[in-house]
């Protein structure tokens, strides 16, 4: 009986959170799916179930937008994963507790520093003309902040801290004694990373990469502010459709595009969560 009350109490405690998730996440997802699968005839005002919106979201400019979003997310998350992993390793090796805390706090802030403020910072620093831009264009003549490459350069600014945040616990979880045990058994440093450190870190690193990918894919304001929609990305296309910038009355197509985004982000989480669980099981045991 006591156990039943304890159980009920525990569920009671999480009820507000579950309610919030249902309203803030569950309901919008349901609404997007519902509207993406329906079409209202403007003449008769009759609503019918249809796959036309979803089919349209996989063709033409929307397919281009989807592919560009995937390409941009892949490129920026690969850069961020590599840079972030090395940065996290360097931080994990630091003996300064306060330095580590400061970097972690800064990463937490910077990982959320996207959108208009970030775009403004880059525009103010690099912009369309100036010393920095000319330096960059000396080695990369076609570079411009308003292009695909410009966005790919800006995204790592918030993705690298995200990678640091997700991989640092795993790096901290690598015990010095595993390295020593490997050396004691005859292993070189390379063999340790190949057979022990690398495999132990892989789930966390992959998880971090997947999270960066999802974050880059779902980013909107930064790209919009930098490119004004000249680079076709799913998120900017959704905004254009919902605000009636292209053709009025295509809201349901926008919902279908949003649904695609949810599916991709959901897939990313489906990959990330088991990886994180596995990493935690190894490194916290």
């Amino acid at each position: 009986m006591t156990r039943l009350f304890t159980k009920l109490g525990a569920w009671g405690a999480v009820l507000p959170l579950l309610g919030y998730c249902a309203i803030a996440l569950g309901f919008p997802v349901w609404a997007i799916l519902w509207e993406g699968l329906h079409q209202t005839n403007p003449t008769t005002q009759q609503t019918t179930v249809t796959f036309a919106n979803l089919t349209a979201s996989w063709h033409g400019i929307y397919l281009t937008g989807l592919l560009t979003s995937l390409r941009l997310s892949l490129l920026s998350s690969v850069i961020s994963a590599v840079v972030g992993l090395f940065a996290a390793y360097a931080i994990s090796q630091s003996r300064g507790r306060y330095f580590k805390q400061a970097v972690l706090t800064a990463s937490g802030v910077l990982a959320n520093f996207g959108g208009i403020p970030l775009a403004f910072c880059f525009i103010a620093t690099i912009g369309t003309g100036g010393v920095f831009l000319s330096w960059i264009q000396n080695v990369w003549p076609s570079f411009s902040l308003e292009t695909f490459s410009g966005v790919a350069l800006v995204y790592p600014y918030f993705l690298v801290p995200l990678m640091v945040l997700t991989t640092l616990p795993a790096l901290d979880g690598l015990r010095e004694q595993w390295k020593e045990a490997s050396a004691n058994l005859g292993g070189t440093s390379r063999q340790y990373w190949r057979h022990v450190g690398g495999p132990l870190l892989l789930p966390a690193a992959l998880g971090g990469f997947v999270l960066c990918f999802g974050s880059a894919f779902a980013a909107y304001a930064t790209a919009k502010a930098l490119t004004s929609g000249t680079v076709p990305l799913v998120t900017t296309q959704i905004a254009n459709i919902l605000s009636g910038n292209v053709i009025a009355g295509e809201d349901n197509l926008g919902m279908a595009l949003a649904f695609n985004t949810i599916i991709i982000c959901g897939l990313m989480m489906a990959v990330y969560l088991p990886l994180r669980k596995r990493s935690a099981k190894w490194l916290e045991s």
């Binding site: 020593e180 045990a181 050396a183 058994l185 005859g186 057979h195």
Partner: protein
């Protein structure tokens, strides 16, 4: 060929393993001198336990032998060959860590096979060796289990098998039993000793547990402040401690007030006993070091319970099985512990007046400061 048979071959003297020598080791961490001229020599096939209080440098010494740390001065040699410049992975030593340190993503079998894998041993041979070694440490049929599926004792058995799989010249044990519960500790203690003797492998064992050191080791090296105090067989260490520190550190020791009364003679508890080792000048006030088992008790008259030297009152009786430890408070406030056979201890209930009767054996004395 079995794993045991392929262990280091016996030499002409019938011993296996190698000799290990630590000479003049110095190691400082900032202002702290972890080792200050530490010397120790292990004969082939010998198990030596390094025992000492926290911070005495025993783990530092072990890490230097393993190659995880470098001495500021001094050398480590195997069979006379200086190992000091060699990195850890070139030393052919097997180490068992306090916290198991099994690789969590590998099964027990893969953990045991890790060393042979680095040595390019075929997968089939590795599996066979792993099975054999796991059987040796009492883990038969558990090769497929992951560390998180094993208990602490089982993990430490796998760690031992992993260390043995590389056929090390020296086995290093860094407090391997301290994280285990009492029952498993006792069991594993015997098994480590059995396997060590079976392999005849030279073994250096760090522990802070006296009982563990005395029961497992061929010799025990007692350390203090980065130096060796005494290295001797357990019985010798217990019965004939070389210094007052060893006498106090190993086992329980009574410090009874006494006075030097002649050439190498001391008066304690109204008796004269011969002094072993250094003896201060006649008339010097000293503390006489006596083991509880070297103290007998006699009944005393109630009236003199707090007055005459060596007389006092039983304050506490602790039943230890075959023996009972009686704590006696003497007239000057000193407490003495006497271990008596339990059937005799009942003659001295708590509160009774007693007289200490030290066994007429040579004793160690230290000047009273």
């Amino acid at each position: 060929m079995s794993v045991i048979a392929s262990a280091p071959a016996q030499d002409a003297a019938g011993t296996r393993g190698v000799s290990l020598e630590l000479s003049g080791l110095h190691r400082s961490f900032g202002a702290t001198h972890a080792l200050a001229g530490f010397d120790l020599a292990l004969a082939p096939g010998e198990l030596v336990a390094m025992l000492g209080p926290s911070g005495c440098g025993k783990t530092t010494a072990l890490r230097i032998v393993a190659g995880f740390d470098r001495p500021d001065l001094g050398a480590v040699s195997l069979d006379g060959v200086d190992l000091t410049p060699l990195p850890a992975n070139k030393r052919d030593m097997g180490m068992v860590f306090q916290s198991y340190s099994l690789f969590p993503h590998l099964t027990a079998g893969q953990n045991v096979g890790y060393g042979p894998r680095l040595r390019k041993v075929s997968a089939a041979e590795r599996d066979r060796q792993a099975e054999e070694l796991l059987e040796l440490v009492g883990m038969a049929g558990m090769a497929g289990r992951y560390p998180h599926q094993l208990s602490g004792g089982q993990q430490q058995r796998v760690a031992l098998a992993r260390a043995l799989a590389v056929r090390p010249k020296v086995l290093l044990l860094d407090e391997p039993l301290s994280a285990l519960d009492a029952k498993v500790r006792l069991q594993l203690r015997d098994e480590i000793r059995r396997i060590q003797q079976e392999f005849g492998i030279t073994t250096l064992f760090v522990t802070h547990d006296q009982e563990e050191a005395l029961s497992m080791a061929d010799r025990v090296a007692v350390m203090r402040a980065g130096k060796l105090e005494q290295c001797a067989a357990p019985a010798e260490l217990y019965d004939r401690p070389a210094t007052a520190f060893v006498a106090q550190f190993v086992g329980t020791m009574n410090h009874l007030p006494g006075q030097v009364v002649g050439a190498a003679k001391v008066r304690v508890a109204d008796r004269e006993l011969p002094v072993d080792g250094a003896c201060p000048a006649e008339g010097t006030e000293v503390n006489v070091l006596l083991r509880p088992e070297s103290l007998d008790l006699e009944p005393a008259a109630e009236a003199s319970a707090a007055g005459r030297p060596g007389e006092g009152q039983v304050m506490l009786a602790t039943f230890l099985g075959a023996t009972t430890r009686l704590t006696v408070r003497l007239g000057d406030g000193t407490e003495a512990k006497a271990d008596l056979p339990s059937h005799r201890a009942v003659e001295f209930p708590v509160g009774s007046a007693v007289r200490l009767a030290p066994a007429p054996r040579p004793v160690l004395v230290v000047e009273r400061g």
